[in-house]
């Protein structure tokens, strides 16, 4: 496998979605290609950083409006 092949399979490799034979070929390439190893590591890191953000905290106003609409929908009345 060459560098272009590694890039083509990068996502599948990160997701653990590669055929074992292809995975072995890719990892053999990584053993001697610093650039591809860097790309793989940095792409994994990018996903990790970008997906580590926290859920948004709803402000009191937003939350009140959401629940008021739900109340209308469910036909319930405040106690």
């Amino acid at each position: 496998m060459n560098c272009k092949g590694v890039i083509r399979e990068l996502s599948n490799y990160i997701d653990g979605d590669l055929d074992p034979v292809v995975k072995q070929e890719l990892e053999r390439h990584l053993e001697h290609c610093e650039d591809c190893t860097m790309i793989v590591d940095q792409t994994k890191k990018t996903i990790e950083i970008l997906c580590g953000s926290q859920p948004v905290s709803l402000s009191t106003d937003v939350r009140s409006r959401l629940h008021a609409k739900l109340r209308d929908k469910t036909g319930q009345k405040p106690t």
Binding site: S11, D15, I47, L50, V56, R65, H67, L70, K77, P78
Partner: protein
């Protein structure tokens, strides 16, 4: 019923009359992940049987994540989140538990957000457009990052950088990244949610991951978003 579920009591206990007291509370009541996993199907079943308090508990658990998703897709704001929950409530009987409740909710929220985006930007993007070839995929920026971004930036700075990078993506890439990597839907679930093929999801996902690596790389090396 909700109390019975949350305390692990078997069967359907006395009605939960304090529903709207719960609604008026300004802070949700997050539960440990194990409890969320274990009792969710009970909450969903109770909500489907018109127990509004159980649906309220589900809303409490996911409102922050759903708001984050709809904001990330539309660039603002709360309407898509609200309508997603209202639509979910209206269609609860159509949820047959062949997927996680959250996955089902994410699909609804993504569709609400996309609908708004299409109204705002008609003809400006399409998820049906053919996927490009792989000739231009080779990354151009290759350099060791040295200290990791977490070592270089405070967490708040990283959050700000992440928001900027995601906002600057084209919608057809942003939505795939958000569903697949952010919300951790499977490739198949993402394809179903967006009505596109699995190969199209995979192709866009590869491209967007490479784009984001490069954008983060530039930001990291030059200190400015690209």
């Amino acid at each position: 019923m909700l109390n019975a579920i949350l305390t692990g009591e078997k069967g359907f206990g006395t009605p939960f009359w304090g529903f709207w007291d719960t609604l008026s509370a300004s802070v949700p009541h997050p539960l440990p992940p194990t409890i969320v996993r274990d009792d969710e199907h009970l909450l969903v079943a109770a909500a489907r049987a018109s127990d509004a308090a159980s649906f309220e508990e589900l809303v409490n658990r996911y409102e922050g994540k759903i708001l984050r998703l709809t904001r990330n897709i539309t660039g603002n704001h709360e309407d898509a989140m609200q309508d997603a929950f209202l639509r979910a409530y209206a269609h609860l009987k159509d949820f047959h538990e062949d997927s996680r409740f959250y996955t089902w909710l994410v699909r609804i929220a993504a569709n609400e957000a996309l609908m708004r985006l299409r109204k705002r930007r008609p003809n400006q993007f399409s998820l049906d457009e053919p996927v490009e070839g792989d000739n231009d995929l080779m990354p151009r920026e290759l350099e060791d990052w040295g200290p990791t971004p977490e070592q270089k930036y405070a967490q708040t700075e990283i959050q700000s950088i992440v928001g900027e990078l995601i906002d600057r993506l084209e919608p057809e890439y942003r939505i795939v990244f958000l569903l697949r990597d952010f919300e951790e839907l499977s490739t198949q679930e993402t394809a179903e949610a967006l009505g596109i093929s699995v190969p199209a999801v995979k192709s866009r996902l590869l491209r967007v991951r490479l784009m984001l690596r490069e954008k983060l790389h530039r930001h990291y090396r030059q200190g400015a978003p690209n």
